[in-house]
Amino acid sequence: MWIYEKKLQYPVRVSTCNPMLAKFLVEQYGGADGELSAALRYLNQRYTIPDKVIGLLTDIGTEEFAHLEMIATMVYKLTKDATPEQLIAAGLGPHYANNDKALMYTNAEGVPWTASYIQAKGDPIADIYEDIAAEEKARATYQWIINMSDDPDLNDGLRFLREREIVHSQRFREAAQILIDERGKKKIF
């Protein structure tokens, strides 16, 4: 069971009406290493992994949905009042023709989200290493988007999301440690 909470995880701000940035940001909405993929990947792997890491996959998977909502908020704010001319200039003319301002689960190039972005091998080590890689890929994607963005408020939110990838990666690395620990017990350092 999930409960919706009527608040964002982080106070998202956007300072300019810049649909071009929305086009790039959609990569983290419906792209391979985006937040939707992350949430579904972790929540799906839960069913076939040792009990001691199920809690972590559940909690990180849940947090990813909060991040998905942050990305949606950014895209919403960046496009909400944009004119068709602005959308055309941003390369979003085809999107507007088909969807107006509606969000779509696609990557930045408009390729629809696909379940093949989700990896689940059923092998705990393979799956956790997959998750570590996914976090690092998402971190890199945030870097490339920050590199293209001149909106300081947007970058503030993206920096938060990038930092979350670092923390998640750390926790998954710890999960890998827990899975390989000889005593089957957490090591105390």
């Binding site: 009527k6 608040k7 964002l8 106070p11 909690d59 947090e63 926790r171």
Partner: protein, 87 residues
């Protein structure tokens, strides 16, 4: 015309976001460190703190949770805007 939320909405919301963020961080940490007693104590402290701030926020700005996890005023105010992405 369009409705506006007062500045206290943003202040109180960030207050709650900050405390709830600490809880997210402690949750993930405790998922891999289940024996850290200090962290558990801190977690329980902030869980209480979150409930306190949440109560103040909900009294002024309406329910944050649904399916019975928040109380409703009359008339039903869960579906009132603004929604999180709108503010």
């Amino acid at each position: 015309m369009t409705k506006q939320v007062p500045p206290e909405y943003y202040q109180l919301l960030e207050e709650l976001q900050a405390v709830d963020f600490v809880l997210v961080e402690l949750t993930l940490y405790l998922d891999t460190h289940p024996n850290d007693q200090d962290a558990i104590q801190q977690f329980n402290y902030f869980a209480k703190e979150s409930k306190r701030i949440r109560k103040v926020f909900e009294k002024q700005f309406g329910p944050l949770l649904q399916f019975g996890h928040s109380y409703s005023a009359y008339p039903w105010n869960w579906a009132d805007s603004p929604w999180p992405w709108q503010v």
